[in-house]
Point group: C2
């Protein structure tokens, strides 16, 4: 290493014009997308399958070729480290995941991992050393498609899930995470949550937005200030099965009518918390589901999200109150059971500021946004100062084989990541 | 036959106090319910199965034992005739069906057939001859569970379905009505729709109400003035799948929200046509039906019923208008396809009056009601003056193994049938 280029003054001067190689990043994204490629142009690379192994092997090979040191922890999280000049400095990290939904796309997760790799390659190209070590993390099983819970690796890293619990989780075929990690060769030795030299000084994750806000606003960069809190419920509405013909309207106990009003109420409750409130009934089942029988039972899911836990408290209280009123009105019974809770997440102010100033330094139009979805960064934020960078995706579509993004947005997001990491790594 | 008891004056005098044997009728109902009995106390005697054959054989045996002449027509309808004294008189008929739903009850259909048989037995007991012949009809495949269309035998009798069409209908296993009729020995020779001596002078059908109106009113007898017209539709609502988290409320095209408002609209449209309007969404499917995905597609059924075809026209027009408005409001598309139409049915005024005066003569509290469901009588009404008698069923429940009725209501309904038939048969 040429010691002259590692002086802080020289580095600072050079980073003003330092840019990642957008074409190389795009090529790597397309190369990685070949592993598990689907006929419709998407990717099926489900956690801990042979495709996941092949994807991990490819990323690890690229990391080693870039001079990075690859470690694997006991839940399969991979970390690729670029050494810093200060042995005391804690690492500045980035990362995401490379597992996909069954009909997933090329960018979800993969962009964050390969943008991190591209940052390393760019620094190598220019012979730039950083004071703090840099690290790219590849978190295990973010999607939660095959094994629950979702965001398993980053959750374990944050201490939310114990490694034994993680290893014991089984898929639909009864195969366990522990056995599958061993089978694919990614059951590592490093204790989960340990970082050489101490915890991360900062963690940045670049990700496609998976929503329509940036595209709708015509902006390439979203400065993510946090993630919405989430509360999920299962609702069961019980009325009375009866024949659609002989039963007058006044004598009905129609579970479908009750459920329909509750769907409307979920929507209303979210609108009352604009712009960050979200309310969704995504799944609904009718019993007996026969054309000429008044439904006796309807079950459905409720997904509430909001920027603050207080906001979620308001939504949940309104939900319980309205559902009880509607049950009375329609002469049905309703039972509400909470199944998931994620508290609202506020990213570290300094990390958010680093992302914003990087975008400004690059002259990239940007806006502050909140992540509506969960991300590995939400768990990492529990143990390290964290920020996220969003780039638009086409039509806001993700978890779909038609998921797409523009090369210029991908490049812009990776440049923001580069400058944000450099600012924190010195 | 003792000719003295057949004089009209003597008959008229004796019918004032003539009553059916309620205990015998109940016993026959329970005996027939053993064929295809289910563990939960219901009956599974699906059309043209071995159980249907056994049920038919039992009823035919009872009819022959009562001195009736049994005929079978080319679609398997059975007719059991008690001769009259006037060779020119056209028959007065009753009947119903003995096929059941897969988890059906003991009374639906069976009551009408066995009440007819009990009328014959009662007349035999008292040595009463009628001027006109009397007939009990057992219609093939009323339920439509195994073979569509429903009310197949009575529909064919009324000329709505041609015998060749009926024979060609197949079940889920590919077996045809024609082959199954032959297999169980009920493919008769009599041309469908032909009645010896000419068409029926009158047709009365006794049936459990299959709804809650009589029970709610505390009355044993419903004088049925007609049957609601029916129009059934399939609706498809198309929005856009999107992630529940990242997609703000304002940018959604939520097919579930659109569908929920349409369910509410169906209910509203029926209430606007009180008391006879009915609107039901009995079946609904969500795509992709995932907890955290805004539904891109919802399909559902709409069942509209009303007393008049003009009323149904109003309901259909309101449905189309409101669905289009809701689709606009919620930024979804809706497609509406009609799948079934039954015009409103008004029973013969004189037959309805005969039922009412029979109830009055018996001192039985009664009310005029309209059938919300289809019945064989609705088809027979197209070719003969027709009336129906309803008796309450427990909790208004039918098409269910817990279907139940009180012996005193069963007896009351059969007595009304007896007097109504006698009035018409002279």
């Amino acid at each position: 290493m040429d010691s002259s280029v590692s002086s802080p003054a020289a580095t600072a001067a050079r980073t003003d014009t330092l840019r990642i190689d957008g074409a190389r990043l795009w090529r790597s994204l397309m190369d990685l997308a070949r592993i598990g490629a689907t006929p419709k142009g998407g990717v099926c690379r489900i956690a801990l399958t042979d495709e996941d192994r092949a994807g991990r092997d490819q990323v690890a090979d690229w990391c080693r070729a870039a001079g990075l040191e690859v470690r694997v922890d006991e839940v399969g999280n991979m970390f690729a480290r670029r050494a810093g000049t200060d042995p005391q400095a804690r690492a500045v990290a980035t990362g995401s995941h490379i597992d996909t939904q069954p009909s997933g796309g090329k960018f979800d997760g993969n962009f964050g991992v390969l943008a991190g790799l591209e940052v390393m390659r760019t620094l190598n190209d220019h012979g730039i050393a950083t004071r703090a070590p840099l690290e790219v993390a590849v978190w295990t099983n973010e999607e939660g498609t095959r094994f629950t819970p979702v965001m398993m690796g980053s959750g374990a890293f944050a201490g939310v899930f114990m490694p034994d619990f993680v290893h014991a989780q089984v898929d639909g075929a009864g195969l366990s995470v522990g056995d599958e990690l061993r089978r694919i060769g990614y059951l590592g030795a490093q204790p989960c949550g340990e970082v050489p030299g101490g915890g991360y000084a900062a963690y940045f994750e670049a990700h496609i937005e998976q929503g329509p806000v940036l595209e709708d606003a015509g902006l390439p960069i979203g400065v993510v200030s946090g993630a919405l809190g989430q509360r999920w419920f299962d609702a069961t509405v019980t009325g009375m099965d009866a024949h659609a013909g002989p039963t007058p309207m006044a004598l009905r106990r129609d579970a479908m009518l009750g459920a329909a009003r509750m769907v409307e109420a979920v929507n209303r409750i979210a609108l009352d918390e604009a712009p960050h409130g979200r309310g969704t009934v995504g799944s609904l089942q009718v019993v007996p589901n026969s054309r000429n029988v008044i439904p006796g039972k309807v079950t459905f899911s409720v997904d509430l999200r909001n920027l603050t836990d207080e906001g979620l408290d308001r939504m949940e209280a309104a939900l319980r109150k309205r559902f009880a009123q509607i049950a009375d009105e329609t002469r049905v019974e309703v039972e509400l059971r909470q199944v998931v809770q994620f508290d609202a997440c506020h990213f570290d102010a300094a990390c958010v500021a680093s992302v914003r100033s990087a975008a400004e330094q690059l002259g990239l139009p940007h806006m502050d946004v909140v992540s509506g979805a969960g991300h590995d960064a939400v768990y990492v934020a529990q143990v390290a100062p964290t920020g996220m960078i969003f780039v638009p995706c086409k039509d806001g579509i993700s978890h779909n084989e038609i998921e797409d993004a523009l090369p210029e947005h991908i490049e812009a997001g990776a440049n923001v990541l580069l400058l944000a990491m450099l600012e924190r790594a010195g």
